[in-house]
Structure formats: structure tokens, C-alpha cells
């Protein structure tokens, strides 16, 4: 299987598959494909169904397989931004924000990741429910805006404003840190807490979280009332 990511800021990923090769993707992600691609809708059992339901994903994933010859399928992102590919290996899982998943090669298990720290869950911006990608293969995720990568050494931390963290290696830990004083919280425009991610591991950030974009646009939109 080969893939090509192109077209930012409205990106798409095109997979070129040999006969018999498959990919899995989020429901409704297919944009165009050759007729040799056959679709099969998967639930993955009740456990995965529930997992996807609580992690913000569609209940069903689609599996596309090239049958009767080579095939090609293109998946487009749902919002302006980027699509990034991340390699997952045994012992090197990735934790990502809800709704980041776009597609993956076979062999990737997408499950729910519960944020156990109350503070990070309440104030970290990502909530208590995230996604975890395990197994062996490549995962393709959607990023709002431009993707920025950091490699954090063991014990090295980065403070991140709410909503800017897309994904991190599961070896990283997440907590919150106060922005420092009531004055900063009320007048600094940065809220009460920042997300603190500590290495070792790689983290992926996004430059334009959809929630921030929506907040910027909200005053410009006419009220229904």
C-alpha cells in the first residue's frame, strides 16, 4: 500500500492498494475511488462499538478492500487543516483527541482512552475521553490548522492552551497547570489552566482548534432570534 497526502488547507489522502489490500476509515470519509474498491461496514463487536460511541467517533468504521485488481481511494478531511500519518508499533501507542481518527491500515486497534486525572479531565481541554491507537501500522488523523510536532525528552514539559493538543505518544503524561493568579485568569484571556504534557515522547499540536475558530466566528454570525 502507498499513500499520498496533498491539498492542504483542505487536504486529502489517496491510498493506492494492490489487489487484496485493505484500509479502514471513518464512516463517510470516502470522497472518490476506483470501482475495484469494495466496502464493508464494521462494528468490531459490542466492546469496540461502545468504545467508539463514548470516544466521539461514528459507531461504524468502513473497510475498503481492492478486489479484482489494484485500487485507489481518496479520503478528504472534514475541516480546513492537515492530515498527518503516524506510525504505531507494539509498545508505542498514540493517544489522540476525540474525532481525530480518519483512517488506518489493518492491524490498528482504536479504543477509548480514559483520562484518569480529574484536573486534566475537567480543565485540560480534551475532556476525560480520548482515543488510543495500538497495534502495528499507520494511523491517519485530522488536524485543525497546521500540525506542529515536538519531541519531548524524559521529564521535559510543554504548556499548551486548551484545545491545541492533538495527539501524544502514550509514554507522555498529561496534567494541568494554573495560569497563575485570578488576575491572569480574568484578564489574561488564557483561562484558568493550561494543559501540561510531560515527556518522554512525541506530541502533535494544532494551530487552529475548531472550537477556537467557531468562537471567533460566532460574533459574526446572525442570531436565529
Amino acid at each position: 500500500m502507498q499513500y499520498k497526502i496533498d491539498g492542504a488547507p483542505f487536504p486529502y489522502v489517496t491510498f493506492s492498494l494492490e489487489n487484496g489490500e485493505s484500509i479502514e476509515c471513518q464512516k463517510g470519509a470516502m470522497s472518490w475511488m476506483t470501482p475495484t474498491m469494495k466496502m464493508e461496514t464494521k462494528t468490531g463487536g459490542m466492546g469496540q462499538l461502545l468504545s467508539r460511541a463514548v470516544s466521539g467517533e461514528a459507531l461504524f468504521k468502513n473497510k475498503y478492500t481492492a478486489e479484482g485488481g489494484a485500487g485507489e481511494i481518496s479520503l478528504a478531511a472534514s475541516v480546513p487543516g492537515n492530515i498527518i500519518a503516524m506510525e504505531v508499533q507494539p509498545g508505542k501507542a498514540v493517544v489522540a483527541q476525540k474525532s481525530a481518527y480518519l483512517a488506518s491500515t489493518l492491524g490498528i486497534n482504536v479504543s477509548v482512552f480514559f483520562q484518569k486525572k480529574l484536573g486534566a479531565g475537567f480543565f485540560g481541554g480534551e475532556g476525560f475521553i480520548m482515543q488510543k491507537y495500538e497495534g502495528t501500522g499507520t494511523v491517519f488523523i485530522e488536524v485543525d490548522g497546521t500540525a506542529v510536532e515536538y519531541e519531548l525528552a524524559a521529564g521535559q514539559s510543554l504548556l499548551i492552551d486548551t484545545g491545541y493538543l492533538v495527539a501524544m505518544d502514550s509514554s507522555c503524561s498529561m496534567d494541568i497547570q494554573s495560569t497563575g493568579g485570578i488576575g491572569n485568569a480574568l484578564f489574561g484571556g488564557e483561562g484558568l489552566f493550561n494543559t501540561k504534557v510531560t515527556g518522554p515522547g512525541k506530541i502533535w499540536l494544532q494551530t487552529m482548534p475548531l472550537t477556537s475558530l467557531a468562537s471567533s466566528l460566532q460574533p459574526l454570525l446572525a442570531s436565529k432570534n
Binding site: 496533498d6 491539498g7 492542504a8 488547507p9 483542505f10 487536504p11 486529502y12 463517510g28 470516502m30 470522497s31 472518490w32 475511488m33 476506483t34 470501482p35 474498491m37 481518496s74 478528504a76 478531511a77 480546513p80
Partner: protein
């Protein structure tokens, strides 16, 4: 008529008209123009298209004419980020156009309804651009251009189709809640974001 397309993800189209030349453009996209643009009215050919069954909100346009040489009008798409792409049409090489992708057309281009089909609660429409002139399409996001061989088939989610050669759209069908198109043998222009 001459034109230039400038800008990256939020492009603009500037059209230069000589005396008595015509331009049709999607309503609300005219942003600034010179004072020798002397007549602005509803475009007759678009009205014909509407009478033929296309949705009014999808293809309502205005017509501009010039009363002197070197008139200039600048149009800005009503979506962003987007791409503006010019397509030359003639009676021998008509194209099919998703009405939502219509942006502007030179006076010699003629638009008529080609297809209007309902699938459950969803409607799929195409118009035909023929005559002789330039049709400008606006696409959400980026543009993908493909040339399909005679027996080469591509399945396309309807929202991604901006335009294609007439004759290569072979089938529109429903798949779950989605409308899919079977396209073969011809030029196609796809949008990387859904045109909705």
C-alpha cells in the same frame, strides 16, 4: 474579455471587459468594479436554467455589461478557503457543472438544466454549460483534475464533483444516505472539500 485570478487560498477574479461584452456572475460576489460597467441585471440564460428546474438558490446570478473598453470588475467567492478555476466551453465541448460550483461566465457561455434528481431527502442537480466562452467554477478547498480513459471508472461522492465533460457522468445513485456518481471517460474537476 481578459481575466486574472490572484490570491492563494482566498482568491479573487478580476475580469476586464471591452465595450458591450457581457459577464454573468453569482449574486453577491461582485466586490468592486469600474464606473464603465454600465448595466447590471438578472442574467437571462440563468433564468432559463431556473425555469428548467434548477434550484433558484443554487444558481442565481447577475449580468454585467461594459459601456466602454477596459472596464474592470472584481469578483470574490462566497466561500473560503477555495479555488477559482476557468473552463473553456464550446458547443462541441460542453461541460456539466454542479450549480453550487458556478461562479461566473463570459457572455457567450450558455447554461441550461441537465439533470435534477431526488434521492430521498437529498437532491442532485447538474447544469450544462455550452455555447462559446469561459465558465469560472468555485470550489471549496483545493482542486483535483483527472482525465479518465474511456473504460476507466471513478466513483465520486456527489459533493466533491464541480464539473466534468458532458457524457462522462454515467450514473447517479444512492448509497446509504449518500449520493454517489459513476464517472467514466473524460475530464473531471473535483473539490477536495465537500461543496455543500
Amino acid at each position: 474579455m481578459n481575466y486574472k485570478i490572484e490570491g492563494d487560498n482566498s482568491p479573487i477574479l478580476t475580469v476586464f471587459l471591452n465595450k458591450n461584452e457581457l459577464l454573468s456572475a453569482k449574486v453577491g460576489t461582485d466586490s468592486w468594479f469600474s464606473q464603465n460597467i454600465c448595466e447590471i441585471s438578472s442574467a437571462d440564460n440563468i433564468i432559463d436554467a431556473l425555469k428548467n428546474g434548477l434550484s433558484a438558490d443554487r444558481l442565481f446570478s447577475r449580468k454585467y455589461t461594459s459601456c466602454a473598453d477596459n472596464a474592470e470588475i472584481t469578483l470574490i467567492p462566497d466561500v473560503s478557503p477555495c479555488t477559482i478555476y476557468p473552463v473553456e466551453v464550446s458547443d462541441n465541448t460542453p461541460i456539466l457543472l454542479a450549480p453550487i460550483a458556478f461562479f461566473a461566465a463570459s457572455g457567450g457561455a450558455k447554461l441550461t438544466s441537465y439533470m435534477s434528481k431526488t434521492f430521498g431527502e437529498k437532491r442532485f442537480e447538474l447544469c450544462e454549460a455550452s455555447g462559446s466562452g469561459t465558465v469560472f467554477v468555485q470550489l471549496r478547498g483545493g482542486i483535483i483534475k483527472r482525465t479518465l480513459a474511456e473504460n476507466e471508472v471513478l466513483i465520486v461522492r456527489a459533493e466533491h464533483l464541480a464539473a466534468c465533460s458532458k457524457g462522462c457522468m454515467t450514473e447517479a445513485y444512492q448509497s446509504g444516505n449518500d449520493i454517489m456518481l459513476k464517472i467514466s471517460g473524460g475530464e473531471i474537476i473535483l473539490s477536495t472539500a465537500k461543496n455543500v
